[in-house]
């Protein structure tokens, strides 16, 4: 256990990076995923098709490829610079890649949620004179969200673990630090490995519990 204790500050910093990547990407995915869902049920066929193609592509591309694309393609090749500090730049590129990928899953979950909302709810809303966006924002989506809180929790846990792939764009999150430590402290591979695994479990387990509790608490009674 010496290595983990000696490098405690590094370990904490590494997991702090994991948390930041997760938080920013989760927020981004929620926003983009909701937007994609709105597009997929929109009255305009072009919007529906665009969102459908996006989801199909993002969901069926390996995350490593998506992140390499944002890092090498968008970052290096196209020269998109989000910050003059290279570490910060890489961080934002990783967040963009993770968001682009995860939002497709959020969209699919939300669409399943919309299917649980009886048609009569939207009909009642429209018969009051609410427009498409009002019906979606006030009636359909709130009920859809409540129906898919548990799956959204699952997506968040997957995202947390997926942040480890941000190493391909050079973000020093937990898994990068773990590999560095294993190289330095070759005699303590198992301890280091178990320590980092425990760190992820400690991060993800409460999320699962929280979302399970939320999904029971916010369930819509019919």
């Amino acid at each position: 256990m010496d290595a983990l204790l000696l490098e405690w500050d590094t370990v904490v910093a590494a997991f702090w990076m994991t948390v930041r990547l997760t938080a920013v990407s989760a927020l981004g995915s929620l926003v983009l995923g909701t937007l994609l869902t709105a597009m997929r049920v929109a009255p305009l066929a072009t919007l529906r098709r665009t969102a459908g193609v996006y989801v199909a592509v993002a969901r069926n591309t390996p995350l490593t490829l998506v992140l390499l694309f944002t890092g090498l393609g968008v970052g290096a090749n196209l020269g998109v610079e989000l910050s003059s500090d290279i570490a910060t730049n890489n961080f934002w590129l990783a967040c963009i890649g993770l968001t682009a990928y995860t939002s497709a899953f959020v969209c699919e979950a939300l669409r399943a949620g919309i299917n649980t909302v009886p048609v009569g709810q939207a009909e009642a809303a429209r018969s009051l004179g609410l427009g498409f966006l009002q019906t979606l924002g006030l009636i359909t989506l709130p009920q859809a969200f409540r129906a898919v809180i548990a799956p959204l929790g699952g997506i968040l846990i997957a995202l947390t673990k997926n942040t480890t792939i941000a190493l391909v764009v050079g973000v020093s999150e937990a898994s990068v630090r773990m590999r560095e430590m294993i190289e330095t402290y070759g005699d303590q591979v198992m301890q280091i490995f178990l320590g980092f695994a425990a760190g992820f479990v400690l991060l993800c387990l409460p999320m699962g519990l929280l979302f399970g509790w939320l999904s029971r608490r916010l369930a819509v009674a019919r």
């Binding site: 709810q121 009909e123 018969s127 009051l128």
Partner: protein
């Protein structure tokens, strides 16, 4: 058009695939009139009712509300729908909102009323339909009859020109039918323009100004309730009434 009907259907046709659900339907509802539509299931009654606020599209013909033809989509359609109240068979109260919120929502988001005004009106209406004490509850905590009365209050909150009822008591337990019909009868007496699809013949006799009998997508005959129930003219109406009034 010189017709002063509030709701006017002219040569309305609709097909679901091969099934011709509305055939050349002509109907004009005057301001303050209560029209009850009856007929066997599959006659197109509900489709007709839902077409009046375009929850069902029609294939040909025109539907006019207070002189304005029903717009196809968008903002104008929403505005027109706000003037046409709808009460559904399955209530369709917003399940994630309280009873009060259900009645407030349209007033705030469509009529752009202040929250305070909307709530005041909502409490008045809930009181009027006899659910004053339940404003804070969620729909699932109420009985079917109570939910339907909230749905009527929600529709009334928009101060509609006409109220459509699509089999409002068909999903209710028998002991709850009357509490809903009483509210509807009171509305009819107060001069609300109503189009009611129902199987409640007692309500039709008591509250209707005119009974419209539909079968196979057509309006077969229409008359004042006493005349229709006393001396039906068409064979189809006679056989329909014979089937439902014998027990």
């Amino acid at each position: 058009m010189s017709d002063q009907g509030l709701v006017v259907l002219d040569q309305v046709n609709k097909r679901f695939g091969d099934h011709h659900v509305l055939r050349d339907v002509e109907l004009s509802v005057r301001r303050g009139e209560v029209v009850v539509i009856i007929g066997p299931s599959g006659a197109g009654k509900s489709t007709l009712c839902r077409a009046i606020n375009r929850l069902e599209t029609i294939d040909s013909g025109t539907i006019t509300i207070d002189g304005t033809p029903l717009p196809e989509e968008g903002r104008q359609l929403a505005r027109l729908r706000a003037e046409v109240g709808m009460v559904f068979q399955s209530f369709n109260l917003f399940a994630h909102k309280t009873v009060l919120e259900n009645v407030v929502l349209g007033q705030v988001h469509v009529l752009k009323k202040s929250r305070a005004d909307a709530e005041k009106k909502a409490y008045e209406l809930l009181e009027r339909v006899g659910i004053g004490g339940q404003a804070g509850k969620f729909p699932a905590q109420l009985s079917g009859g109570q939910q339907q009365r909230v749905a009527i209050a929600r529709a009334l909150a928009m101060e509609p020109k006409v109220l459509l009822f699509d089999e409002p008591t068909s999903a209710l337990d028998p002991e709850m039918v009357n509490e809903v019909l009483e509210v509807m009868t009171a509305l009819a007496r107060e001069g609300m323009t109503m189009v009611v699809v129902t199987h409640e013949m007692g309500f039709a006799r008591r509250a209707a100004d005119r009974v419209v009998f539909m079968a196979d997508g057509e309006i077969v005959e229409q008359n004042a309730p006493d005349d229709f129930f006393g001396t039906p003219r068409s064979e189809r109406a006679k056989s329909f009434l014979a089937k439902i009034l014998t027990h």
